[in-house]
Symmetry: C2
Subunit: 189 residues, 2 copies
Amino acid sequence: MSTTTERAPLNGVDTPTLFATLDAVKGQPDIAKFQFRAKNRWVKGTHNQSSIHGFYGAGQEMEHQHETVIDADHPAVLVGADNGPTPVEYVLAALAACLTSGLANIAAARGIELTEVESTVEGDINLLGLLGLSDETRNGYEQIRVSFKIAGDAPPEKLQQLVERSRDRSAVFDVLTNSVPVAIDVTVA
Amino acid sequence: MSTTTERAPLNGVDTPTLFATLDAVKGQPDIAKFQFRAKNRWVKGTHNQSSIHGFYGAGQEMEHQHETVIDADHPAVLVGADNGPTPVEYVLAALAACLTSGLANIAAARGIELTEVESTVEGDINLLGLLGLSDETRNGYEQIRVSFKIAGDAPPEKLQQLVERSRDRSAVFDVLTNSVPVAIDVTVA
């Protein structure tokens, strides 16, 4: 069975290429093995910069068209210089972005035209853990809530199903709601 | 017992204010309850923009000095227009940033001067899950590896201990290695 359909490009998604890519991966599953990367450099205090550029995928080393550099810091209330968002805020943005990218692809695959997709993400965190003041309080978010507002040319239940399907296939939702093994090593220069 | 010490500012960390903040939170633990937020707006295809500005903390609504807007997209090999990093790359950057910010604070608190902190993060992901082509493959990272390179005025084992302590109190490490409840709701406009 092929996933190739007669779907035209929709929502800015090149749907024919998306289906062709799915078919290519089915025929050669090894090309689905990717490795993403980030580099980070400490600047001063809680301020540091990450850069994102190269990755591995489809059997070869690849690069984004442009390197992206992002600053992270703590705000003044947390004794930082506020040179950028906190790391935990980037996690919330990543979650919204992942759900939204997936949603646009899924809508295109289903022939649903989207006119608006907005979301807000809130994460509750009690800093007693992170600050080392309580062993009963976890360091990270206690709960995250995402609220989507969607408009498109489909009945409400079809639009809601887009979010459900996107959640069910979201990489960031997965790593936040299931756990990931994280290994850390240190070299002293 | 007070955590206040005679430590001077170090590594760009205002250590006296950091200790004063810890003392303030000890005296009034409710001010440690924070809520971070991100907003996201779909642009086109897999391209979307997140903005980070306001948050709640220390008993009041607060704002970063500047709003930060970040673009996320899929690269061409994943049928996107490559207008920015993928959401999962932001997660790697957030992890490195969180560990590095914590490390700088901990070093200052311990009186260790840092001269260099760099890290690289790699995340292995098999897209068969995310693409809906395999139910046995998870959607997100199978493994994440962080490699730190550190230099400072302390013996190697003391520098390595900074990373260990930072990991033990890292919010992003926590949410990736433990799970977080994530609730999603949808409003159809």
